[in-house]
């Protein structure tokens, strides 16, 4: 069945189909309609769950830490400042190996206030031990939420799904809604081996030695490594049931390309549009969409960019004092390659600035003409 849904509605629909049992959320623009939709579904008994109307994002995630420790399947959604407020608990959730699924609708971090989208909020949570998947379309949000519950529960790690504020959260697209039986087949009820259970009492999260602490963190790192393959396997299984598939990185028009744009989130759609036109006039340009950011799919990136001369990274973020974060990570992944592609970092669409196919065409011309080179990041649409 196809319905017109925006990204937020698609997220809520996926949570319902995934049969989340405890949901705790605090409203924040542009996430609010996810919280409202889920609260409505629970109130109208369309979803059998506890909806906790907490007083902050810190408490939202703390509630889920508790509920997940009980063995329930849990979900929250937030944006920007809300995700920042959750920061301490993000570490707590991964450290306690809790399969929590979170949708963050990307929005700029104040100050000053902005309702625009960029990825600083989620990229600032890079080192918290959560998997991160960036989405291009509403359909992808829905599918990624369902896959993420399965992935999280298999790896015992939390997963964050990223959706660009307004561009994805509020724009309506036709979305194919899977049947409940199909979803149940792909995602059975959560089974827990470790939980807070009076019949089998254990202590969780108390003090440990440095060696044990490091071992536990290394185990998370090993599971992260494993996640790259597990995600691919689950995507295949998902495809066999639903007919759609996803990969950590997705190449587009890349085989004979000399220049490749790297895109994250909704900029991908704009870049596809530009590349389709550029290809018609014979320009050898391709695209690499990055869906998976944590774990970082280095090997997939190296394979995709083998033999490419120039890479333009459309970073919807900046690590102030350094450069775009995807650019940093990509450079680290490409370091061992010989020859290495030139990596040009473009801070694009930052603060929600609209990026158009024409804008990308202009950017491409400047790169070809050597006006923009690797080195300092180039700020697109920002004078001076």
């Amino acid at each position: 069945m196809k319905r017109l849904l925006n990204g937020n509605e698609a997220a809520a629909e996926a949570v319902k189909l995934s049969r989340a049992q405890v949901i705790a959320a605090y409203p924040i623009t542009p996430q609010t309609s996810i919280a409202e939709a889920l609260s409505d579904m629970v109130s109208k008994k369309k979803l059998k769950a506890r909806y906790m109307r907490v007083e902050s994002e810190t408490s939202a995630l703390a509630c889920l830490v508790g509920a997940s420790m009980a063995g329930a399947r849990v979900f929250t959604a937030t944006s920007s400042q809300g995700l920042a407020l959750m920061h301490e608990l993000l570490h707590w959730a991964s450290g306690a190996r809790l399969p929590i699924v979170l949708v963050n609708v990307n929005r700029s971090m104040a100050s000053p206030w902005s309702l625009g989208t960029d990825h600083i909020d989620s990229l600032s949570q890079r080192d918290t031990g959560w998997l991160q998947f960036y989405c291009e379309k509403a359909q992808e949000v829905l599918d990624t939420v369902i896959i993420s519950f399965r992935l999280a529960e298999k790896l015992l790690l939390p997963v964050m799904i990223l959706s660009d504020g307004f561009y994805l959260s509020h724009f309506v697209e036709p979305v194919s809604i899977p049947g409940q039986k199909q979803v149940d087949r792909f995602l059975p009820a959560r089974k827990t081996r470790y939980r807070l259970n009076p019949k089998d009492p254990h202590t969780f999260g108390g003090g440990v030695s440095g060696i044990i602490f490091a071992k536990l963190k290394k185990d998370i790192q090993d599971r992260m490594e494993e996640a790259k393959e597990t995600f691919k396997d689950l995507s295949k299984e998902f495809e066999s049931i639903f007919g759609r598939t996803y990969s950590p990185v997705e190449p587009y028009w890349i085989d004979d390309a000399e220049v490749v744009m790297v895109s994250i989130g909704t900029l991908t759609g704009t870049a596809r549009n530009f590349i389709d036109q550029a290809r018609k006039s014979g320009k050898k340009i391709g695209l690499l969409k990055m869906k998976m950011f944590r774990p970082f799919p280095e090997e997939a990136v190296r394979q995709a960019l083998k033999g490419i001369k120039r890479v333009i990274v459309l970073d919807r973020n900046i690590s102030l004092g350094s450069e775009g974060i995807f650019s940093q990570e990509l450079k680290a992944a490409l370091y061992s390659m010989e020859p290495r592609p030139e990596v040009i970092d473009v801070i694009s669409g930052f603060g929600g600035i609209d990026v158009t196919p024409e804008g990308l065409s202009e950017l491409f011309q400047k790169v070809i003409q050597g006006e923009i080179r690797h080195g300092k990041p180039f700020w697109m649409g920002v004078e001076g």
């Binding site: 810190t58 408490s59 508790g66 509920a67 707590w92 259970n197």
Partner: protein, 297 residues
């Protein structure tokens, strides 16, 4: 008493508490009163450290260490999760110190109390951040020495009346309790266990290193805190019905103070001022009792 009526000890010896620790005594009584069908959430604080270091734990009940500011929220979520997986019986106990309750965890507690989450929240109050080594909290009494309120710059503000604030949330049950009155403490815990909604028990915990007293005086000090009316024992139902549990003989607070190094700098003037404050708070409490016209039990 018949042997089968003896309650099982759910806190083992060998924990990491200091000699004469009031917190472990309180935890032991609370667990005994609750029985095995319990899951405990604890925040950063003495209670989280003294339970033990991996791979040992002194508690014989499921025990989860949560972040400092989130005991009430984590406990609420745990209760919701247990219910959703079909466990409706387990009591969820949040066990937090005065830091985790009066200060850093206060928002989370207020939120849970306002939503009337089905949790039992016990605050073990030793009147300062003792786990980090005796720093002022909002539970520290006015004029008490701590490492962040040295004698040159003593705490000028009175102890936060957290019980009045929680009562104002109209939670179904609130009580103050003392390790010097273990039967009263156990009765309150059992009463709380049978009630649905947010239940709050505030237990004063004398702390030998933090209050600067000899470790054999813990229970005596707990008793003097009640007897001097510094820490009266009472219950509040639905935020309105107050009930005093004992009418303490009026021992001067001086008797309570003189055994504690943290008040050793007090001169007659400060003691008099403090006595006036204790008397005023006592009168306030009696006023609240009268409002409900319920006599002392």
């Amino acid at each position: 008493m018949k042997p089968q009526e003896l309650e099982e000890e759910l806190l083992s010896s060998g924990h990491f508490a200091c000699p004469g620790c009031g917190e472990t005594l309180a935890f032991r009584h609370v667990l005994k009163a609750l029985g095995k069908r319990v899951a405990v959430i604890t925040t950063a604080g003495c209670g989280s450290v003294v339970d033990g270091y991996w791979p040992v734990s002194a508690s014989k009940v499921p025990f989860f260490h949560c972040s400092f500011g989130t005991a009430a929220a984590t406990a609420s979520g745990l209760k919701a999760g247990l219910e959703m997986i079909g466990d409706l019986r387990t009591t969820v106990l949040a066990w937090a110190g005065d830091g985790g309750t009066f200060d850093i965890g206060f928002q989370s507690l207020s939120g849970a109390a306002e939503r009337n989450e089905d949790i039992l929240y016990c605050c073990y109050d030793n009147e300062a951040y003792m786990n980090t080594g005796i720093q002022r909290s909002s539970a520290t009494p006015k004029g008490a020495w701590t490492t962040t309120t040295p004698v040159q710059n003593l705490k000028e503000e009175p102890k936060k009346d957290v019980d009045a604030i929680l009562a104002a949330h109209r939670i179904p049950y609130l009580a103050t309790a003392s390790i010097a009155f273990p039967e009263d403490l156990a009765r309150k815990v059992k009463k709380a266990k049978a009630i649905k909604g947010t239940r709050f028990i505030h237990i004063l915990i004398p702390c030998p290193p933090g209050w600067r007293f000899s470790s054999d005086l813990t229970v005596k000090l707990a008793r003097l805190a009640v007897a001097s009316r510094f820490f009266p024992l009472y219950e509040v139902e639905s935020g309105k019905r107050y009930q005093l549990n004992s009418m303490p003989e009026k021992i001067p607070v001086k008797e309570y103070f003189r055994l504690q190094g943290r008040f050793s700098h007090f001169k007659e003037k400060q003691i008099d001022e403090f006595q006036t404050e204790v008397d005023a708070r006592w009168e306030e409490l009696l006023e609240r009792m009268k409002r409900d016209e319920r006599p002392c039990s």
